[in-house]
């Protein structure tokens, strides 16, 4: 458990061991969630998410969902077509 003081401007410092543990560096954006207590989570850059996912795109046309056909495709795949 760590303690940190809130400044008059409302800012806090994240203790160094936690920054190190969660890979938080200057300039990172974190999300604060109000769920009865305040949870701080590191936000992931979406460009790095896309880079990680590039392997799934090879040889596939972009899927453009229309009229809920994402659901239809899944239901047909899971339960079969009559």
């Amino acid at each position: 458990m760590y303690q940190t003081k809130i400044t008059s401007q409302g800012t806090i410092s994240i203790p160094a061991p936690l920054r190190k543990k969660y890979g938080l560096v200057s300039g990172d954006i974190v999300t604060l969630e109000d769920n009865g207590k305040i949870t701080i989570q590191k936000s992931t850059d979406l460009a790095s998410v896309r880079a990680q996912n590039a392997k799934y795109v090879v040889g596939k046309k972009p899927f453009i969902a229309k009229g809920g056909d994402g659901f239809t495709m899944h239901v047909l795949e899971k339960y079969g077509q009559k």
């Binding site: 954006i29 992931t44 979406l46 994402g70 495709m73």
Partner: protein
């Protein structure tokens, strides 16, 4: 495009943000995210996105978890955080359960309407707050 915009995002927007397979559309959405104050994402858009990633793009469960938590935690995106933070954690933890199974159990819990009655024995065995009917 005017700054400080707000609005909502549909399934295709989420897909392009996660998959990036239409680069010009991804660029438009990134600009929108930069300029918007907050953008809403409905529960149903998140469910459809997961189904498409799973069925069409054949994403692994771990990559679905990583991609969707990045969306849910994005500072400009407002969605049902309370549900999805927990639902994606369960989805990652229990490979036999679908996101829908996990979310239904949590909807019941968050709405003080547990247990979730089901015929799905895998679900009932895996999660508390569920009860199998025979």
């Amino acid at each position: 495009m005017a700054k400080n915009k707000s609005g909502s995002l549909d399934t295709n927007i989420l897909l392009r943000l996660i998959v990036g397979d239409v680069p010009e559309q991804t660029a438009v959405i990134e600009t929108l995210l930069t300029e918007a104050t907050v953008l809403q994402v409905a529960d149903i858009a998140i469910f459809e996105t997961v189904l498409v990633l799973q069925s069409y793009y054949q994403f692994s469960r771990e990559d679905i978890y990583g991609s969707l938590t990045a969306i849910v935690r994005h500072p400009k995106i407002n969605c049902n955080h309370r549900l999805f933070e927990q639902a994606f954690t369960l989805y990652r933890q229990y490979p036999k359960l679908s996101l829908v199974d996990c979310a239904l159990t949590l909807y019941a819990e968050l709405n003080n309407a547990s247990p979730l009655y089901t015929f799905d024995k895998d679900l009932a065995k895996s999660l508390a707050n569920t009860q199998a009917l025979s």
